[in-house]
Every structure is written in structure tokens, then in C-alpha cells.
Amino acid sequence: MIPLIPLPWFLGLAAFMFFCGVFGALTRRNAVGILVAIELMLNGVTLTLAAFARFLPPGADGATPLAGQMLVVFIIALAAAAAAVGLAIVLAIFRTFSSIDSQQINIMRW
């Protein structure tokens, strides 16, 4: 049976999410805003993986539906960790620079 909603729809939506996140991460001046954008990007990726797990036929190289879902689970766990650490970094940055404006933090310069 052919699935009702075809794979490219899911993938396109995931890409849209991802690039919204990219745009946000590139342009937000508030560090927390950047974190939000990064979460968006991560979710786009998890959506892609879940879609592949559903649609692609099991490959000989262990690419089973279970593997796809497992990957998503791990990404979600890591994303949670990233969010926690990211927020702590934002607080630390604020203590150091008295600002969370990403345009003010240029210590990587020269």
C-alpha cells in the first residue's frame, strides 16, 4: 500500500524547519534566541530521521526502522543536554561580559 502522505512532504517540511532555525541562529542577537533556533534545527533533523525510518526499506547495512528511531531518541537526549549546557553558557557569558548580545562577544577576534 502506498502511504497517503509521500516522503518528500515530510522531508521538505523538515528542511523548512531546519533553515528557519539556521536563519534564526545566524541573525538573533539574543543568545537565548540562538538557543531557540538551534532547537528548531535539531527538531528538523529528528523529523528527517523519523521519516526515513518509516519510509525507507530495511537496508542490508543495518538501516532498520529500529535504528532510525533509536537515533532520534539519542538525538533528543543530546539536544536536551545541549539545551541545558547552552543555557548555562549563556549565563556564564552574561556574568563575564554583562551582556548576552552576540554582537558584543568578539573575543575570538585576531
Binding site: 523548512f16 518509516r54 519510509f55 533528543i76
Partner: protein, 180 residues
């Protein structure tokens, strides 16, 4: 509940319902993503992020990944979003209101993101995907067994990473000892 959802996501549900559910999820994701990326007010942005995450959860359901659906709701909407709201509120006093929300590379970034999206969409739509006819059934039990057998090593590594992240977050967010 697992079986009910699985059943509904499988063959017997009418196409109309499936289409409607997809449309709703689709709309949630698109609106949420745009809001999260574009809105000036950070708190609003986070709330729109929550909407997008909810939409993704719905899509997981439609992809017959019931376990991911639950995890998505629990971890993201219940955890990460709450954390981000905390972050916004903790730093709201720090954010100077007079500075613009976006930096100077906005135009370039928008153009770039758009181009990338177009390129990706082109690849996605033109690529001849090999699609399996039968939706795979992955019961939650199998995921549990997989976590503790086949994937026990990554599982343990992730647990260590989480521990380190926890400790690291505490260390980073803690006040410097000298400022006591």
C-alpha cells in the same frame, strides 16, 4: 493506547482524517518555525517553538513512531521548552531593549537560508526515493529491548554525556567562588 494509535496510523483510518491530521501538523510546524525564527519577542518565539515541536510530535505519530511521539512531548515540550522559558525570564532583565533583535547579516542570512531551502527542496523532490510499501511496525517493547541489548553501548555513553552535561551546566552556571 499504543495499539490504538498504531492501528489508527495504519491502514484502517480514512484518508480524509489522515490528510486533515497532516494538514494540522503541517500548519503547526510551519507557523511555529516561522514564529520561532522571526518573532521579536523572545517569549513569544519560545511559545511558537513549542507549537512547532507539537506539530513534529503529530508527524511522528503519522510516521507510526508512537514512542518518538511520547518522547517528543515529554522531553521537548515538557522539558526543553520549559528550560528555555526559564532562560528567557532569567535574562529578560539583561537584554537591553534598545538594541535591535537582529544583527547586520540578516539579509545575507535570509538569502542564504532561502537558497539552501530551494536547493534542498529541489534535491528532495527530484530524487527517486525507494519507498517500502509496508509501514514498519516498531513496538515500544522492541525499542526497550534494543536500548538494553543492541544499543546498550551508545545508551551508556549518552547517559554519561547527560551526567557530564549536568555537572558542566552546574559548574558553568554557578557563581564564581571568588565573588562570594
Amino acid at each position: 493506547m499504543d495499539e490504538i494509535l498504531a492501528k489508527s496510523a495504519q491502514s484502517s483510518a480514512p484518508a480524509l482524517w489522515v490528510g486533515a491530521a497532516f494538514a494540522v501538523s503541517f500548519g503547526l510546524v510551519v507557523a511555529g518555525s516561522l514564529g520561532a525564527a522571526l518573532l521579536k519577542n523572545l517569549l513569544h518565539a519560545v511559545l511558537f517553538l513549542a507549537l512547532a515541536l507539537l506539530g513534529v510530535a503529530g508527524l511522528f505519530l503519522m510516521l507510526s513512531s508512537t514512542f518518538l511521539f511520547v518522547v517528543q512531548i515529554l522531553v521537548y515540550v515538557g522539558g526543553v521548552v520549559i528550560l528555555l522559558i526559564f532562560g528567557v525570564m532569567l535574562t529578560s532583565k539583561m537584554a537591553q531593549p534598545d538594541i535591535p533583535p537582529r544583527n547586520r547579516q540578516t539579509l545575507a542570512a535570509a538569502l542564504l537560508a532561502l537558497l539552501l531551502f530551494c536547493a534542498t527542496a529541489y534535491v528532495l523532490t527530484t530524487h527517486p526515493w525507494m519507498v517500502s510499501a509496508e509501514p514498519p511496525a516498531v513496538p515500544v517493547a522492541e525499542i526497550g529491548v534494543g536500548l538494553l541489548q543492541k544499543y546498550v553501548l551508545p545508551f551508556e555513553i549518552v547517559s554519561v554525556v547527560l551526567l557530564v552535561a549536568m555537572v558542566g551546566a552546574i559548574v558553568l552556571a554557578r557563581r564564581e567562588p571568588e565573588s562570594k
